[in-house]
């Protein structure tokens, strides 16, 4: 059953080369539903770490949290893509172009699954680099000058970062090969965790630092975040949703693996570095959010901020780890709905700047509502699920250091103000229209008379369902998921329950 999680995206990948685009959109729906149900089945019946496919892949609790996140978001994005493809083809884009869309997207999902489920650190690295390459041509999908520049920055920066991560893996291999000999066994995460205290502490710390900076480039920690706003805003919206929601988490998984290895051999300094990078990321994104004029870049900076919060939570430890794990899942849902609904606005109006879009509530009732409540949700307001994650993390932060807690709280308020002011401006009308008296005479708005009917209904309602799900999750989280999260946070103590 575990092998199916890898095999199904591979099948989708092969089929997408041959099948016609519209047929492929149906197949993609089917495969996403299958993968989602298999992952739910795994989650329900999971009680110990399982190794499969010859020891190269395994599932443990942290993997499972990220796996659930990926399959849930991919399910919704598959439905959204169904509508997105039809809308764009009706708007005049060629079908051949979209064939490559599905190919690269399936390659992206496949390599992400390989990366998440891998036991061998070398295979994790290969999968992560493959996701960079698979998303590169997706980010430049629109073939404009800005998107090519964004793709270039993205590929170069992330490849250099991941190469530094390779250096970290080399140094780790050096230390573990003194225990296990030089073979694939000494790159296996389970073996490394069991070696524990026998590994050389200086080299482990060095490896963690290199991994933090290297894989942190791909997560989007400041000061290595320059590629993030461009890459996440230039791609098509479903791709942006997947990038922000799950790819950042996959890179974070690598850092967490190194953190766990350090914890298993008794080194506890890494947490200060995680806290430092997390806090610095929140600081930089708080000051950058205020100056943004493009709404997709705004949401990309919000992704960066949330990754900072998650890293902060993992660094603080204790109850904040539960918050971070919940935040991983909830942030993926929430950011997904923000990018998807803003993609609706973009698809209908073809306008990226915030000050060119006004009075959304008149012509785009559902989308505007989803955008407004989505921004409330992403800032952590109840009744949306991210409130729960942020409360746990902030409790942990306040318990450990009150000054840090106040600083983080103030920065979060900054970000909330920045996001909300801009989105509220988009939601309601402004004075420029109303002064003219006549409807759209002097208006600078881009969408004279366009409304939601040009968009396929799937595109409109998928974000709404995500929003409702996100609100529901605050009040009721299925207990298998809670158990998984609790066991995952216990794993961070450094000992794996291996049966």
């Amino acid at each position: 059953m575990y092998e199916l999680v890898l095999a199904l995206p591979a099948i989708a990948l092969i089929v997408s080369v041959f099948a016609d685009v519209l047929l492929m959109s149906y197949l993609q729906l089917g495969i996403s539903i299958l993968v989602f149900s298999i992952v739910i089945a795994i989650a329900m019946s999971f009680n110990s770490i399982t190794v499969f496919l010859g020891g190269f892949f395994f599932v443990d609790y942290i993997n499972l949290v990220i796996l659930i996140t990926v399959s849930t978001l991919e399910l919704f994005v598959a439905f959204y893509s169904f509508g997105y493809v039809r809308t764009e083809i009706a708007g005049g884009v060629s079908k051949r172009k979209f064939k490559f869309y599905y190919f690269w997207k399936n390659l992206f999902i496949f390599s992400m699954m390989v990366s998440i489920l891998s036991n061998n650190l070398g295979i994790y690295w290969t999968g992560l680099e493959a996701t960079t390459l698979a998303t590169a041509l997706l980010v430049s999908f629109n073939r404009t000058k800005e998107s090519f520049e964004a793709t270039w920055k993205y590929v170069i920066m992330c490849s250099v970062g991941i190469a530094i991560g390779l250096f970290a893996i080399v140094i780790l291999y050096f230390t573990t090969s003194q225990v296990y000999g030089e073979s694939l066994q000494s790159l296996s995460f389970i073996n490394i965790m069991q070696a524990g205290a026998k590994l050389d502490k200086n080299f482990l710390m060095l490896a963690f630092l290199l991994a933090l900076v290297g894989f942190g480039t791909k997560v989007g920690f400041a000061p290595m975040h320059n590629w993030l706003p461009d890459a996440h805003s230039q791609g098509p919206s479903p791709v942006s949703a997947l990038l922000s929601g799950v790819l950042l988490n996959t890179a974070l998984l690598g850092i967490l693996r190194f953190y766990q290895i350090n914890g298993a051999s008794g080194i506890y300094y890494p947490r200060y570095f995680l806290i430092g990078f997390g806090f610095f990321t929140i600081l930089v994104s708080a000051f950058s959010v205020i100056k943004q004029t493009d709404y997709k870049r705004l949401f990309a900076f919000s992704s960066m901020e949330n990754m900072g919060i998650i890293a902060l939570g993992f660094g603080i430890g204790g109850i904040a780890v539960i918050g971070s794990l919940l935040q991983i899942f909830f942030h993926a849902l929430n950011k997904g709905l923000l990018f998807l609904s803003s993609g609706n606005v973009l698809a209908a109006t073809h306008e990226r700047r915030i000050d060119k879009i006004r009075n959304l509530s008149k012509n785009f009732p559902v989308t505007a509502l989803v955008l407004l409540f989505g921004v409330m949700g992403i800032s952590g307001m109840p009744p949306f699920a991210m409130f729960l994650g942020e409360i746990y993390i902030m409790t942990g932060v306040f318990r450990s250091n009150i000054l840090l807690g106040f600083l983080v709280f103030i920065l979060l308020v900054f970000i909330f103000i920045g996001l909300f002011v801009k989105i509220l401006k988009m939601y309601t009308g402004n004075t420029e229209n109303e002064e003219a008296g006549d409807e759209f005479k002097n208006s600078k708005t881009a969408h004279k008379g366009v409304d939601e009917s040009v968009i396929h209904p799937f595109m409109v309602y998928v974000p709404l369902i995500l929003l409702l799900l996100s609100s529901l999750l605050l009040f009721y989280i299925p207990s298998p998921f809670l158990n998984i999260v609790q066991s995952a946070s216990a794993e961070f103590g450094g000992r794996i329950i291996f049966k």
Binding site: W152, F167, Y173, L187
Partner: protein, 205 residues
Amino acid sequence: MLMGKIAELFIILILVSVVLNVSSPFIKFAIKLYSFQSLMLAFYILMGAVHFNSINLYGSFIITIIFKVILIPYFLFKTLKKVKMDKEIDMFIGIPEAVVFAGSLTLLSNLIAQKIIKTGITFGSFVFTISLATFLIGAMLMITRKTLFSQIIGFLTIDNAIFLAANSITHGMPLLVELGVLFDLFVSILILSILILNLRRNIAV
């Protein structure tokens, strides 16, 4: 110790080729230097293979030759021909300053490597120093050159440095991992070439 001396010669030639790269503004020459550098790396791996008699290293030698010495420079030359980029490249700091800076980076990497070596690398400490120097000089190449090709060459140099480090402190990474890494590198060069073609087509970068 003849084998040891010959291996050291190859490593020194790698450092020489990187500094030559810094000192020259021509892109074609830079790609040829990269090919030469990878050849020296491959020969170093071959010496290790003969000395330790491991199949792993022989395989690594072969795939290094195939990917890094032949395929990647071939694709870079093809792209260079299509793009018809000017052979001269402009930069943020001049060439003599860059060479001096490269020398100081070598000294810096010696200082850093001494601290790491103290804690227990038993063989190949000299190679680790050179690999760190190559890493830093490759990073400098990426930062101080404005041409897109120089960024690619810098990135490839960094990758070579990491392979060199992997071969210096261990007997080489497992073959499966190296195959995966090299394949990813190759695909990334293909994608970067496509991007360069498109970037040049839209505006003059």
